[in-house]
Amino acid sequence: MNTQNPTLNKAQIAQLEKAQSLTQIVYNQFKEHKAAVIGAYVILLFIIVAVSAPLIEKVTGLDADSQNVFNRYRPPMTRVKAGTDVRETAIQRFIDQNPEEVIIIQNQLISQKLVSPIRPEDALYDWAQLDKNKALDAVKLIDTTKKSDLRQIANRFESFHILGTDELGRDVMMRLIYGTRVSMGVGILVALASALIGLFIGALAGFYGGWVDTILMRITDALLSLPLMPVLIVVAAIDLQKLPFLNQIISTGNESIFKLVFILCIFSWMSVARLVRGSILSLREREFILASRTLGATDYTLITRHMFPNVLAPMLVSVTLGVGESILFEAALSFLGLGVQPPTPSWGNMLFNAQELIYQAPFLAVVPGLLILFVTISFNYLGDGLQDAIDPKAMRR
């Protein structure tokens, strides 16, 4: 070896000769799949954006729900002036919160001739009608302890919309960011929950065999053979309020999201169950299971301690691919108006709104779909990369 690679020093040779752990091999293998690595970074980016949505809201001063009907369908990169009502509400709230300070501010505003109201009480309201920059200049000149509050109010007089506004004048970017939360949250939650269900059912079927296996696998096959979309639509159209026992459990706020997660879980555990059953069927015959059984291990210990670690790796692939699929199903159901209900934004129901507006605002219909495409393709590549990485046949040491 030294003769072939004279550049290698002792440390590098030691590095080469050291045994690699399994995780290291898998990691190195994974790194070679460029698309999967890119996919992982894209997913990470989206997760960071989704988690920090409230922070972004604070920094930009935009929120996902405030409407502005005078500024609908604004193209990307436009500045929009806030309506009179929005400004006056902000001032009203400010006055209610600091009644004493307001009088000082009003007097200063009038004495410095920044505004000339008919009645002195209206000074702040007149200030609110100024442009953003003029209002900020005025704040600089007056002397008060509430300067930062006023500046904050003035900043809201004008908003900058990177991706424009939608049919109700809401900021598209903020809605997409909050939609990321909902869509990815639903996708990941469904994939994890259905993996748990599949793990449980597959383990039962594979470990006990016999009639348990027959019944569970018949159910699995039956569900797998169904065309999912019509079935999902029928189930999603149910009014949960009509089920008396569920009525108390469900709170009204995010009911549609939980309902959606629940429905998607019912119909997406089958592939994991078959995978787990297959692995456990073959694991059951292995010597180490026989050994621990001889040592007196219970069925529970056998399954959870000795079999689950062995099925985790293939399950990871299945879960990753499941996230992409769940995001697509969530989007499809929301697109049909049966998934996440507005005003909660999700990528699917943003498309639902936008499909009627393709003449006025085609842009609105394009962006949410692009995000769905990016995220799903990333999850699919990630799953593909993981599959290659953990596949012992493809392993290179």
Binding site: A35, P227, K242, A332, V366, L373, Y381
Partner: protein, 323 residues
């Protein structure tokens, strides 16, 4: 073989029966009560009338009794009436089923025509630039939401370019002079839904063709055929592709139900009067009888088609043993 067919057939029937029963029960849980809808237009109706109406339509009976009554009606060929359109469901079902069949088959054939050459191209030059490009394309195809692709296609081809109609089935009020004119007109309406429905199957099929073809080209008889001096074309098509075809048939059999799933969304988006749109619009419009019948019949069709292709699979590949 016969026992296998009988068992599979029996299983399919059981699934259909259970599914229709569950679906029948679920329809009761949907918002909007049929009697309430009936009386909403009539303010002078009394409580006695409501009870009488409920009795008349059998709505006071438990679910299983109503289910059996419904099934016995259906088995005599009486599919009931649509509450919204006031016409027999049979009249709505047949054209809808035909339209969906045309759309699904067109999409299946189109995706095979596109996907198989792509897959073979990749398999012949693995890890080349073409292979990576097609791989990216297939991944995009699997990941793209078909309804969004539909919207984008409408924006490009119907709104901006104006080449193709944005939705529908045929030009309204059109009198066809010949069957050819009819086909051309309907075909124009079929293109966009077909493409947006096919993109997912194209992705799946081309990846599958690639792996099946790679597997087939690794066989010893391929080497022998090449050594005999056969031309490349003969080796690829006669020896390689024929063997790759067998796994391909399985994936086609499985894809019936996913194509039908996709057809539902595509039909809704393009206002294409197929059975998927019928299911969706009748559920949204509280037309429960239509929803039930169209759902059960179309799902049964899909299951039976999968059953048939399962059996055909055994005929094509004699190595498959039925147990």
């Amino acid at each position: 073989m016969l026992t296998f067919i009988l068992r599979r057939f029996f299983q399919t029937i059981v699934v259909i029966v259970i599914l229709s029963y569950v679906c029948f029960g679920l329809m009761n849980l949907m918002p909007g009560d049929p009697v309430e809808l009936m009386i909403s237009a009539n303010p002078r109706i009394t409580q006695e009338d409501v009870t009488r109406l409920r009795e008349f339509y059998g709505l006071d009976q438990p679910v299983y009794k109503r289910y059996f009554a419904w099934v016995s009606d259906i088995s005599t060929g009486d599919l009931g009436y649509s509450r919204t359109y006031r016409i027999p469901v049979t009249e709505m079902m047949l054209p809808a089923l035909l339209a969906t069949f045309i759309l699904s088959m067109a999409s299946l054939i189109f995706s095979l025509i596109v996907a198989i050459p792509l897959g073979i191209l990749c398999a012949l030059k693995p890890n080349s630039k073409v292979d990576y490009a097609v791989n990216l394309f297939s991944f995009a195809g699997i990941s793209v939401p078909s309804f969004w692709l539909g919207i984008v296609l409408i924006i490009i081809f119907a709104v901006n370019l104006g080449w193709l109609p944005a939705g529908g089935y045929q030009t309204t009020g059109m009198q066809y002079s010949s069957w050819f004119a009819e086909m051309m007109d309907k075909g124009k309406y079929l293109i966009l839904p077909m493409v947006s429905l096919s993109i997912q199957s194209i992705g799946r099929f081309s990846r599958f063709t690639r792996s099946a073809m790679l597997e087939a080209m690794r066989n010893d008889f391929i080497r022998t055929a090449k050594a005999k001096g056969l031309s490349n074309q003969v080796v690829i098509w006669k020896h390689g592709f024929r063997n790759a075809l067998i796994p391909l048939i399985t994936i086609i059999a499985i894809s019936f139900s996913s194509i039908f799933s996709g057809a539902l969304i595509t039909e809704t988006l393009f206002a294409y009067p197929g059975v998927g749109r019928l299911i969706y619009s009748s559920i949204i419009g509280n037309d429960f009888n239509v929803a039930m019948v169209s759902f059960v019949i179309s799902v049964s069709m899909v299951l039976l088609m999968s059953l048939v292709s399962d059996i055909l699979y055994g005929v094509v590949d004699p190595r498959i043993s039925y147990k």
